[in-house]
């Protein structure tokens, strides 16, 4: 404990900007020397793609090499640069603090994206994993609005995702591609990237309208009824798509143009986090929490419970639709089987693992389940024993998830750290 405390103390002066600089240094080291020198001398066949997890599990002989690689490329540079640069990054952070918070946040996000882009760009497999993880973040955060902040148990998220995926795919196929199903493109394909946001919004809107089919009949009741109705909705959407031959039926729909590169997905993810954060901290969000805790009391305090619940539900569904649209354009292929009970289990696992009522928790949940799922890939069948076991332990020791009921405090996160240190030891 002593060492950990000391360690924490030592790095308490590093602001977020300093950590970014440290990670940037690590990524640059990997970029320039990772393949030719470091991994070569450590006897690794290539740059370990997910911090060496894959190679360690496949060939235990490589464990020392992979660990040494992580140490040399990531741990040491990040810590050293972050600590040593704090004399520039702290004034830098102080300078940014004078700017409006949103501008400072945007600058930080741009820096973060640049680093992420560089790191992922080393290998296309990383790009794909990062893309799907970001899509999962949107899904998890949006389901948290319903299952966390609203306190319902909704099972229809894969259905909303399917609506978004199919509507946006149909739009891009009709508008920007020459394909077998819908014939020639109506608009020049060059317009695709510019109109893609509208396509995604249309997908989200379709999901939101679809969510009314669940919301209207079920919100007179509470608890289990919604779970059952929403589950039914998911199966209805799946069966409907399977029986619609015009959009491919069970055979699926492919050939979507590749309109979702990493920056686009990153932008949408950040937008989603920002909008949902504002939503749940707004008056409507507070009203939602009161409805969750005691509906009758909320009603008597002039909260329009029905309207609040409907709005939140449609809002959650909208983002699930957007996530579905992005998902379809990352894989460039969808079939109804993708949006079934397996997907539901995955989404619920991410949200309950990460933590209810917390955006940070959702992000943690989505990232950890996705990264675990990839990192444990070499274990094949045992992966499906380990991940559920972890989930069970989380549920036993932290029933509300890893990080629940906490919010992002952007100001505190981004501030310069030297002032606080002066406060502690004058």
């Amino acid at each position: 404990m002593g060492i950990l405390q000391k360690f924490k103390q030592m790095f308490s002066t590093v602001p977020m900007l300093g950590w970014f600089l440290g990670i940037l240094a690590a990524v640059l080291i990997e970029y320039f020397w990772g393949y030719d020198y470091i991994s070569y001398y450590l006897g690794l066949p290539k740059i370990p793609v997910l911090f060496g997890a894959l190679i360690m599990l496949k060939e235990p002989v490589m464990i020392p090499g992979a660990l040494a690689y992580d140490l040399i490329v990531y741990v040491i540079p990040v810590l050293a640069v972050a600590k040593l640069s704090s004399f520039i990054t702290n004034p830098g952070a102080a300078l940014l603090e004078k700017l409006p918070l949103w501008l400072s946040a945007v600058i930080h996000l741009v820096c973060f994206y640049a680093i992420l882009h560089l790191w992922a760009g080393i290998n296309d497999y990383r790009v794909l994993v990062v893309k799907l993880t970001l899509v999962s973040i949107i899904l998890t955060v949006s389901v948290n609005v319903i299952n966390g902040y609203q306190g319902e148990f909704s099972c229809s998220h894969p259905g909303f995702m399917a609506l978004g995926a199919y509507v946006s795919s149909i739009l891009t196929l009709v508008l920007f591609t020459n394909d077998k199903i819908f014939g020639t493109a109506l608009l020049p394909p060059a317009l695709g990237p510019y109109l893609f946001p509208l396509v995604l919004v249309a997908g989200g809107a379709a999901a939101a309208i679809g969510s009314l089919a669940v919301a209207i009949p079920s919100f007179r009741t509470r608890g289990d009824y919604l779970a059952i109705i929403s589950l039914a909705f998911m199966f209805i959407v799946k069966s409907a798509v399977e029986n619609l031959n015009i959009i491919g039926g069970a055979r699926g729909m492919g050939g979507q143009p590749d309109l979702a590169p990493l920056p686009v997905i990153f932008f949408w993810t950040m937008l989603c986090i920002w909008v949902i954060h504002n939503f749940v901290t707004s008056i409507l969000g507070k009203a939602l929490n009161t409805v969750r805790d005691d509906e009758a009391a909320a009603e008597s305090m002039t909260v329009k419970t029905r309207k609040t619940k409907m709005t939140a539900f449609m809002f959650g569904a909208f983002w699930a639709g957007v996530a579905g649209g992005l998902f379809a354009h990352v894989l460039t292929y969808i079939n109804p089987g993708m949006f079934s009970i397996n997907r539901l289990a995955e989404i619920l696992a991410m949200v309950y693992f990460g933590g209810l009522n917390s955006i940070v928790g959702s992000i943690v949940g989505a990232v950890s389940i996705n990264v675990l799922g990839e990192a444990l890939r070499p274990l094949e069948l045992f992966k499906w024993i380990i991940i559920p076991l972890i989930l069970i332990f989380v549920m036993i020791f932290r029933p509300y998830g890893l990080i629940s009921f906490t919010e992002i405090n952007a100001k505190k996160l981004l501030e310069a750290k030297h002032k606080r240190q002066q406060g502690v030891s004058p």
Partner: protein, 391 residues
């Protein structure tokens, strides 16, 4: 503390900079990727692919490596699990291509994974051979994607012709899973072929159900009442036994005919005597096989304890095709992009490849022209060769 940190960093940096002669010394290893459903809905299919691949690797290792252009190269298999999910198959392909630097990929088996995974392989210009995927769009407009089996539009007419010639029936019934891509496609093709032969309305019952249904009595009652003489059901090994036994209980006496999805060893194991005497179209027949096919079957059975199904045989052929293409490519430059292209060109030019599932020559699209086999389940529960039909 600061000094120590700076010194270690400096030491590392200088050490790295002064030793640059290194990286060309990395050995060229031929890596073949296997993208198989080891977990998920159809693990038996994944197991068959994995075992066939391991047998193939054994052969190569016995020979001391793969000889290309007079030089022996070490061969390594990269086996990835696609969990029987489309996005996982895409991830597995991307990983194998960009991280493991595979020269060619064998798999995925089912069309719902092979279609999106083929997109990835084609994008990165890496040869992919799907041994079992029968959906036309797997290889359509994708020069780098090939397959090891015939397509549904070929198989449907083969079955229709066989029934007509063998039994002389004119009225058929079809029972299929509407939610699954393969049965649905094949049912449509069969219906089309049958009606072309016997006139519209000759498919007297065209009934469907949904994946994971286990009670087919209402559909089967309709089929029995419709006056159909033969029932065609292109289902997988988990449904066929249920359909067959329920049909018999409801008074169905005619023959039941299936397609290559029956070919798993599990079909007969689960179905028992009910299935004896039934026919299905397939890629090869295990009982009464000769030559290389028999050698493969015997070896597989000896090592793994059961008779290989068609997936294993097709995977074996796909691997042999990949091997042939790599050897035909002449020589390996060590530059993976160039080698992949050479392998693709060599593969497209292979003529009359003598596989254990028949002779193969690829069309422009990367689909093989090969014969279908009609298999009869005999009274020992073995899959026996009954006849074959060639394009």
């Amino acid at each position: 503390m600061r000094k120590i940190a700076v010194l270690t960093m400096l030491a590392f940096c200088t050490a790295m900079m002064f030793s640059s002669l290194a990286f060309s010394a990395r050995k060229t290893i031929i890596k073949i990727g296997i993208n198989a459903p080891l977990t998920g809905d159809i693990p038996k299919v994944g197991e068959g692919s994995k075992y066939a691949a391991q047998m193939w690797l054994e052969d190569i290792e016995k020979a001391g490596g793969l000889e290309v252009g007079g030089k022996k190269y070490e061969v390594e298999l990269v086996i990835e699990d696609n969990e029987s999910k489309a996005e996982s198959a895409v991830k597995a392909n991307t990983k194998m291509i960009t991280q493991d630097d595979v020269l060619a990929i064998v798999g995925p088996q089912s069309s719902k994974q092979a279609v999106p995974a083929g997109e990835v392989a084609n994008k990165y210009k890496t040869v992919m051979i799907s041994p079992w995927s029968t959906n036309p769009s797997t290889t359509l407009d994708r020069p780098y994607v090939f397959r090891g089996c015939f397509l549904d539009p070929f198989q449907g007419p083969v079955v229709a012709n066989f029934i007509t010639e063998e039994f002389g029936f004119t009225k058929a019934a079809v029972l299929y899973d509407v939610a699954s891509d393969y049965p649905k496609g094949l049912a449509e093709v069969f219906k089309q072929a049958w009606e072309d032969k016997h006139g519209p309305g000759s498919v007297v019952a065209y009934e469907s159900f949904t994946t994971k249904d286990t009670d087919f009595s209402s559909q089967l009652t309709k089929i029995v009442k419709s006056g159909a003489e033969v029932l065609f059901t292109p289902q997988y090994y988990n449904e066929v036994p249920l359909i067959v036994s329920q049909a018999k209980n409801l008074g169905w006496t005619g023959p039941i005919v299936g397609s290559d999805s029956w070919g798993s060893a599990e079909t007969v194991e689960l179905c028992g005597e009910d299935c004896y005497g039934l026919f299905f179209s397939s890629h090869y027949a295990a009982a009464g096989a000769k030559g290389a096919t028999k050698a493969f079957i015997d070896r597989y059975e000896k090592t793994y304890g059961y008779i290989p199904d068609d997936v294993a045989a097709l995977t074996w052929d796909a691997l042999r095709l990949a091997q042939q293409a790599i050897q035909d490519a002449g020589k390996l430059t060590g530059k993976i992009e160039k080698d992949r292209e050479a392998v693709r060109d060599a593969l497209a030019q292979i003529k009359d490849f003598d596989g254990i599932t028949g002779k193969m020559t690829f069309t422009e699209e990367g689909d093989p022209i090969k014969c279908a086999v009609i298999v009869r389940i005999n009274h020992q529960g073995e899959y026996e060769f009954y006849g074959s039909s060639c394009p």
